[in-house]
């Protein structure tokens, strides 16, 4: 699987997206990440492993608590991926909107 697929696989889970959102403020330990969730700490650890595998987070090897750090670049690649396609259709459909208005006002005849 290429990296983008791995990233999207990791982002497909709502708990993992929530973990990423929490890491935008600062680096957090597993215990800190797990605190607001109803799922167990081992379950959070498994999610962190998936996020780390996708390159979305990195974990310190030095500190025993191994705080997690959000890695921005794979997320940026993931947003850019769809953004260019989205931009194509956004601009096309905005132009279509204007054309439909002109057609309905009779400014364009069949």
């Amino acid at each position: 699987m290429d990296q983008l697929s791995t990233v999207f696989g990791a982002l497909a889970d709502p708990t993992r997206r929530a973990i990423l959102a929490r890491l935008t403020d600062r680096d957090l330990t597993v215990a800190e990440i797990a605190a607001p969730f109803t799922v167990s700490q081992p379950a959070i650890s498994r999610h962190l492993k998936v996020l780390e595998g996708a390159g979305l987070i990195s974990r310190s090897r030095r500190a025993t608590a191994r705080p997690s750090h959000l890695e921005a670049e794979p997320l940026r690649a993931a947003t850019t991926w769809l953004a260019r396609y989205q931009a194509f259709w956004d601009e096309s459909h905005d132009r279509l909107d204007a054309l439909l208005t002109a057609m309905q006002e009779g400014r364009i005849t069949p």
Binding site: A12, A18, A21, L75, W81, A87, H93, L100, P110
Partner: protein, 160 residues
């Protein structure tokens, strides 16, 4: 403000697009099938669109090109399956820059109270082929300027 929603789920070779327009569906159908109208909206403004063929019937073929400001041309072609009608259009779609990667696109026009919801369901031969299509952004070099991390993070809804 209406926006175009595009969904590309991981693991399945589909792209689903929806967009609502303030016009009845026969007007939408004309805008999608009259080549003189089509060239006025399909694609970003900086690309010049030319329709070479548009045979609006079962088994009819279509081909168009988008020309960039630097003269680069991107060709696309396909075949209509079934007679295109205001209810919908079923067609194959192939980017000539990636020959053999043919998708099957179904367009439907649903009218409600003088507004029309356009849906496009595209089926690719594999997830990889779909992802490559999305990666190209339809054709290369589209502006990527506004893809910002903070936009995505704003969409990362926390779970309760």
């Amino acid at each position: 403000m209406t926006t175009t929603r595009i969904i590309a789920e991981p693991g399945v070779p589909f792209i689903d697009l929806t967009r609502e327009f303030a016009a009845p569906r026969d007007v939408l159908f004309r805008a999608h099938t009259d080549p003189q109208l089509l060239v006025q909206w399909l694609g970003p403004r900086r690309l010049t669109m030319r329709v070479d063929r548009f045979e609006l019937r079962d088994g009819g073929t279509w081909r168009y090109t988008h020309r960039d400001t630097d003269g680069t041309e991107y060709g696309f072609h396909g075949v209509f399956h079934g007679t295109p009608s205001p209810e919908g259009i079923l067609q194959t779609f192939e980017f000539e820059g990636a020959p053999g990667h043919v998708s099957l696109d179904s367009l439907t026009f649903e009218e409600r109270e003088a507004r029309t919801l356009v849906r496009i369901h595209s089926v690719y031969q594999s997830v990889e082929a779909r992802d490559a299509m999305i990666q190209s952004g339809m054709e290369g070099g589209l502006n990527e300027g506004y893809a910002r991390l903070d936009e995505l993070v704003a969409h990362l809804a926390p779970v309760a």
